[in-house]
Symmetry: C2
Subunit: 321 residues, 2 copies
Amino acid sequence: MKKLIKDKTHFLKDMLDGLSKTNKDIKIISDTVVVRADKKQQGVAIVSGGGSGHEPAHAGYVAQGMLDAAVCGEVFTSPTPDKILNAIKAVDNGEGVLLVVKNYAGDVMNFEMAQEMAEMEDIQVETVIVKDDIAVSDVDKRRGVAGTVLVHKYAGYLAEQGSSLQDMKAQIETVLPNIKTIGMALTAPMVPTTGQYGFDIEADEMEIGVGIHGEKGLSREKVETVDKIVARLLNELLNEVNEDRLIVMVNGMGATPLSELNIVAKYVDEALESQNKTVTKWFVGDYMTALDMQGFSLTLVPESETLLKALTASTASPYFN
Amino acid sequence: MKKLIKDKTHFLKDMLDGLSKTNKDIKIISDTVVVRADKKQQGVAIVSGGGSGHEPAHAGYVAQGMLDAAVCGEVFTSPTPDKILNAIKAVDNGEGVLLVVKNYAGDVMNFEMAQEMAEMEDIQVETVIVKDDIAVSDVDKRRGVAGTVLVHKYAGYLAEQGSSLQDMKAQIETVLPNIKTIGMALTAPMVPTTGQYGFDIEADEMEIGVGIHGEKGLSREKVETVDKIVARLLNELLNEVNEDRLIVMVNGMGATPLSELNIVAKYVDEALESQNKTVTKWFVGDYMTALDMQGFSLTLVPESETLLKALTASTASPYFN
């Protein structure tokens, strides 16, 4: 296995050590919890997290205007409830804590347990669960993928606007069903903690509908040119999105060059324009990755005035542009 | 070849189309020249560029506080003098134009020709040539690599401070000999315009001293753990850097996960600390890439008050943090 690591058992610790050494705006508590160096003194605090391997998610979004804490599990492994509880306790300033959770069984269960423990200590906690991956047909079983980062930003904005915990949850839950993502992979991620590829794929194949841990998607297909791949993904997305003014994220899966993400964006723009749809805000880059998987995901969200304002408001995170 | 492209002959055009569709702060002129949508009305204008395949360099740095134009060649191919001339003419506002050129024969020749043509049209032009890659022993033949991005930022800052063209050139040339970089690769880049890998490398090998086009470096070695790789590179760098307060860039080569760049940073920090050196500013991310090569480069620059101020001043580029 060719990886820039010392030891597979130290992957998470070494990554967090590097992050905290190089970024003075954050610090590590409780071994695997990233919090802001300067605790936010007012407004609802926002906690997210999950398995590692999705960098810059989630720790890279711990910053003014986005998250107050990220709880980092081992690679592709949910963080434990005690760590989530420690995060909640560290960031609560009396106005309550919102948990932003991706819809994976382990994450949902552990964040729920932490919420219950925090409530027993009289901390107000609410949870929103992101289920944006349309590759899964059953809406309740949809995975939380790149669209989660937009929720981090929206929540951060609402907190800065002084929303109450209940209002934030309600406002976010209005938007959540409208966030739609689908991903594709050209290659499988090499998982540093196992030394194995996440799945097998031939030199002329791609996986359509892949998840951010390399989970199987809709179908295994022969590789096509980018315009056809984009058409294929948009065909799935536009079954569920009818609006004409859209916010679009082209998310790199970790090892996709920025040049290719821009090429993807060109063909997304052309295809949407041909259907008389307008993109009012683009996000192009690595937001929610799967280690060193090559591929991308496409997220569409119908524009609203508030959402556009929230997603373009300033944040100190260097990874959200 | 698995690449998110439509046609290898359209790589550059499609990438620039995507970039300009998704970023309203820039526009494309003369097919392959990226300029700011709003031309800078005062101060020395700064033009850089070179072959494509190094994204976000150079087009991603066309922004307030950095470049005024980037001239984009085909993949790993120098841009032609006529395009460089068009860039110079487009951005000059009467205070002259500084060209920031990486030390490759084609780039140096073509930028020089463009400078001569511009001077014949009575535009003041000066050039600085970046030669930061210490993998080449002959100092005059050293390649310009990731350190170039720090020069973009320094130049952008000096321009905003109102430096004259001659002063800028002089100040930058004082710093240039102190910028030292060395790179390494775990994998070779797949070049989309040829469908070939940039070089051959075995599953248990790494290339030490690799260039940003996959040029051969110091040596081909068996893969080691990251701490040993870092020690190997720092050993080369610290032969040439004696100062104790350093600015450090850990630059991803395009397909290296951010997690691993942070792990690299941890071991760089530890190794420098053990030699009583202090890092006063870190840059960790993809700044100057080689398509989808896995690996990284390490740049050390002795800190100075002005340089630190310049490198931490605000810029509108989303890629320089």
